[in-house]
C-alpha cells in the first residue's frame, strides 16, 4: 500500500478539500427522487436504481476520496418511521454510493416514509496521491 505524505500544516494537506452538503430523498410515492439541497456546486446525485440508494459524483477532479461521513436528519419526519439509517455502501475515486433505510430493512429502502435529508461530509485530496 502506497504511503501518503502530508506537509505538517495542522495535520492536513493543502491539497486536501472538505465538502459538506445535504441531499433530500422523496419516497412519498412513485420513483424515488433525490434532490441536492446544499452542495450542488460540488456534487451531483443520480439514482441508478429506484430504491433507497443514491450515487453521488464529485464535480471537481480529485485524486482520491479519503472519507465520507453521513448522518440522516429526521426533521419533519412523521412518527413511526425513524430512526432512519444512512450509510455509505461504496466509495470510488470520484463517486460514492449512499444507502438510506427505515426500520431494519435490507436492502436500502425508505418504505414510502415521505422524505429524509442526508447530511454529507466528504474529505478528499486533489492531485496524485503519493
Amino acid at each position: 500500500m502506497a504511503s501518503r505524505t502530508f506537509p505538517p500544516i495542522c495535520g492536513i494537506s493543502p491539497k486536501s478539500i472538505i465538502r459538506m452538503g445535504q441531499i433530500y430523498l422523496d419516497d412519498s410515492g412513485g420513483p424515488v427522487v433525490w434532490t441536492v439541497l446544499y452542495g450542488s456546486d460540488w456534487m451531483t446525485v443520480s439514482t441508478p436504481e429506484d430504491d433507497g440508494t443514491a450515487l453521488v459524483t464529485l464535480k471537481e477532479s480529485v485524486g482520491e476520496i479519503l472519507s465520507v461521513d453521513v448522518t440522516a436528519d429526521v426533521t419533519g419526519m412523521g412518527g413511526g418511521y425513524f430512526p432512519i439509517y444512512a450509510n455509505v455502501l461504496a466509495v470510488s475515486r470520484q463517486t460514492f454510493t449512499l444507502g438510506l433505510y427505515s426500520y431494519e430493512t435490507v436492502p436500502p429502502v425508505l418504505n414510502n416514509a415521505g422524505g429524509a435529508v442526508i447530511n454529507i461530509l466528504v474529505h478528499a485530496v486533489k492531485g496524485e496521491v503519493l
Partner: protein
C-alpha cells in the same frame, strides 16, 4: 478562545466555515451531564431521553449540514450498536442549534430509548462564512 473552524485556505469550499467538537455523556436519566472533549465554542443540554441539544456559540448563516458519529469505546456491553439522527438544524444571527437523537437498537416509532453512560458524540458542522465573527 481558540478558533475551532477551518478556513478556506485549507481547501474548504470558499466561504465555508467548519466547526467540530466531541463531548461525552455521563450518567443516566435526568441527571445526565456532559464533558466537552474537543471544541470549546458549543454547549450541550439534555432535551429529552436520549436527545441532546447542541448550541454553537457563534454567528453563522446558512447551514450546509451537520454530521454526527457516535463513538462507543467506553460503553460496556449491552448498549451497542448505537445509532444517531440529527434534527432541527437552525442558524440564526447569534447562534446555531441542532439536536442529536440516539438509539441503542433498531426500533420503530420511538425515536429515543435511553441515555448512555460513556457514549461520545462527535460532530462536524459547516456554515457559510458570511456573518461569522
Amino acid at each position: 478562545m481558540p478558533r475551532q473552524g477551518f478556513t478556506e485556505a485549507w481547501g474548504n469550499l470558499p466561504g465555508m466555515t467548519v466547526e467540530h467538537g466531541t463531548f461525552s455523556l455521563n450518567g443516566t436519566g435526568s441527571g445526565t451531564t456532559f464533558t466537552n472533549l474537543t471544541g470549546t465554542r458549543f454547549s450541550v443540554t439534555r432535551s429529552g431521553t436520549g436527545t441532546y441539544l447542541i448550541t454553537l456559540n457563534d454567528r453563522f448563516f446558512g447551514a450546509y449540514g451537520v454530521v454526527v458519529t457516535p463513538i462507543i469505546g467506553s460503553i460496556s456491553g449491552g448498549f451497542v450498536p448505537v445509532f444517531v439522527n440529527t434534527s432541527g438544524l437552525v442558524s440564526s444571527p447569534t447562534q446555531t442549534q441542532f439536536s442529536v437523537l440516539t438509539y441503542n437498537c433498531p426500533t420503530t416509532g420511538t425515536p429515543v430509548l435511553t441515555d448512555f453512560n460513556g457514549l461520545i458524540l462527535s460532530f462536524v458542522a459547516a456554515f457559510k462564512n458570511s456573518g461569522a465573527r
